[in-house]
């Protein structure tokens, strides 16, 4: 279980990026974090990844505090961030250098196959399309078999068709080992397609505004009336979160207090 307890981040320049954010995320849950710019969603993700330390509060995974990048936590960024001097296969195997070569090769081959890029193993990253490169990034993160996979607006740089394709593909991959997914997005449809729970955040300072459980069975039909209804619900919450006259309703809760399900 991933526990966020009053996570607060104040940057050295005085910006209050995140204010006492608390939540509990179960193993295998898919969480989407959505909110206007400056709501601290990327800050939160970087704190969970151990890339930036929180100013106050704690992030714990299975009771272990996270203060630095952790073996069980993987992250996928907005850009693929592949290493241009390594072939696609070597990029995927980058985090497996401690494994014996034979096992590494086998796991990389399986991962390549799983993301449908088996024929691109020896290709340089620059020769890939944007969608293919992001698939390699997904394979690189998943091949390490993380317990928690963080995604920072992973599909926002892609065209609409590729984005939808990769969302479905991500769910497909997730079903293999069912890691916890924490996804930062600004795309309402993406949040509703993927997530079990959508956390709506509001800015200045970044804090939790509303939590919406999406209890739709998968695979989800993007054209179903119920899907539309959830989308509208999230959109409304998003609008309200940006309206300064609306008081905080859900924010500043302590862990374990008032979880929805």
């Amino acid at each position: 279980m991933l526990q966020l307890a009053s996570v607060t981040k104040v940057y050295p320049n005085g910006v209050h990026a995140l204010e006492r954010f608390s939540s509990e995320i179960q193993l295998g849950e898919i969480i989407a974090i959505i909110g206007g710019s400056g709501c601290g969603k990327s800050t939160l993700l970087r704190a969970i990844a151990g890339l930036d330390r929180a100013s106050a509060g704690t992030v714990t995974l299975d009771g272990e505090a996270i203060t630095a990048p952790h073996a069980k936590v993987g992250i996928i960024f907005q850009e693929p961030r592949l290493l241009p001097w390594l072939s696609v296969a070597d990029n995927i195997g980058f985090g497996l250098s401690e494994l014996p070569a034979a096992e590494r090769r086998e796991r990389v081959a399986r991962a390549l196959d799983r993301v449908g890029l088996a024929d691109k193993a020896k290709v340089w990253p620059r020769e890939l399309s944007g969608g293919q490169a992001q698939r390699v990034a997904i394979a690189r993160a998943l091949v390490a078999q993380p317990e928690v996979l963080l995604l920072d607006e992973p599909f926002s740089a892609l065209d609409a068709f590729t984005r939808k394709d990769l969302q479905d593909h991500l769910l497909d991959l997730w079903a293999d080992a069912r890691p916890t997914l924490v996804l930062v997005t600004h795309d309402v449809e993406e949040a509703v397609v993927l997530a079990d729970r959508v956390l709506v955040m509001r800015p200045h300072p970044g804090r939790l505004f509303e939590e919406i459980t999406i209890n739709l069975s998968r695979p989800r039909d993007r054209n179903a009336p119920l899907f539309e209804q959830f989308k509208r619900h999230v959109l409304t919450a998003l609008d309200r979160s940006l309206d300064r006259t609306v008081p905080d309703t859900q924010g500043r809760r302590e862990p374990g207090g008032g979880l929805w399900w």
């Binding site: 890339l51 992250i75 961030r81 290493l83 990253p125």
Partner: protein, 282 residues
């Protein structure tokens, strides 16, 4: 009907067009570059033969060739080339070693950079030739002062290139290394080194170019052998053909060493997507 005819014609012609130009271009492109100097040399040769000029101060190509051939036959040429090459080789080696060591330390460790970099930048502002009198006083008139001057010339581009390259390594790529919990040495070996390599190779090539520049300056200050000595000797004894011959040999060896450096580093940089390579392939 007219539509289909128009559509089919270019399709049928396309494969032939695609197949032949690259082969032709590969042959003609270097030739195109040679066209201007060769025709100028030929024109000058003809002008001298025709008696329009006596060619005493600007010797015709044939005379330059004879001079080179004579120097080669007497074994002089090998001696001069060996002397110059060894000076450039040692000076380049020392300059690269110092530039890489200091550049690496200052690029990686910001405390060292704040401590050392201002001094190096100040020294860089001094024209390197200005060191010559001091080097002669300190190190004598013979090899050491010459090698030192070349090393100084090579040091700065290598140092600057390497610190600059380390400082401009993409933070996002470094973060990938952090996510995979690379240790300090692993981060250097697996992220920083490959990321820095292209700029470092460019710095080496600039350094080598400067090395060739400075060897001439070094050999002007009292050498008894070397290509720079041939230049001075030709000036003092009024042998322009020998001067041009030395210049031609400088050009050939300088280009050859640069080419060797490029070939030696090419396998390390195969992944690069450069404009030159793309236009070379097309």
């Amino acid at each position: 009907m007219a539509m289909t005819v128009e559509l089919q014609a270019p399709v049928a012609a396309a494969p032939q067009q695609n197949a032949s130009p690259p082969r032709l271009a590969r042959l003609t492109r270097p030739l195109l570059g040679l066209l201007l100097p060769l025709s100028l040399a030929l024109a000058w040769e003809l002008a001298v033969r025709a008696g329009w000029s006596n060619g005493r101060l600007v010797p015709p190509p044939s005379k330059v060739f004879t001079t080179i051939a004579e120097l080669a036959r007497s074994g002089e040429l090998t001696r001069h080339i060996a002397a110059t090459l060894s000076r450039v080789g040692i000076g380049f080696g020392l300059g690269v070693a110092a530039g890489t060591l200091l550049g690496g330390i200052c690029g990686y460790w910001s405390f060292a950079r704040r401590l050392v970099d201002p001094t190096i930048q100040a020294l860089r502002a001094i024209p390197s030739i200005a060191w010559v009198p001091l080097f002669i006083l300190w190190l004598g008139i013979f090899e050491t002062s010459k090698v030192a001057l070349i090393a100084v010339g090579v040091f700065f581009p290598v140092y600057l290139g390497l610190t600059g390259a380390i400082l401009s390594v993409d933070r996002k790529i470094v973060e990938v290394g952090r996510v995979f919990r690379l240790s300090g040495p692993a981060m250097i070996r697996r992220i920083l080194l490959p990321a820095v390599l292209p700029a470092y190779v460019v710095a080496l090539r600039v350094g080598l170019g400067l090395g060739w520049m400075f060897v001439v300056a070094a050999e002007f200050m009292g050498a008894s052998e070397g290509l720079g000595y041939l230049l001075i000797d030709g000036q003092q004894l009024g042998k322009p053909a020998q001067i041009v011959a030395a210049i031609v040999i400088f050009a050939i060896i300088g280009k050859a060493t640069d080419w060797l450096l490029e070939i030696a580093t090419a396998p390390l940089l195969r992944w690069q997507d450069s404009f030159a390579r793309q236009s070379g392939a097309a």
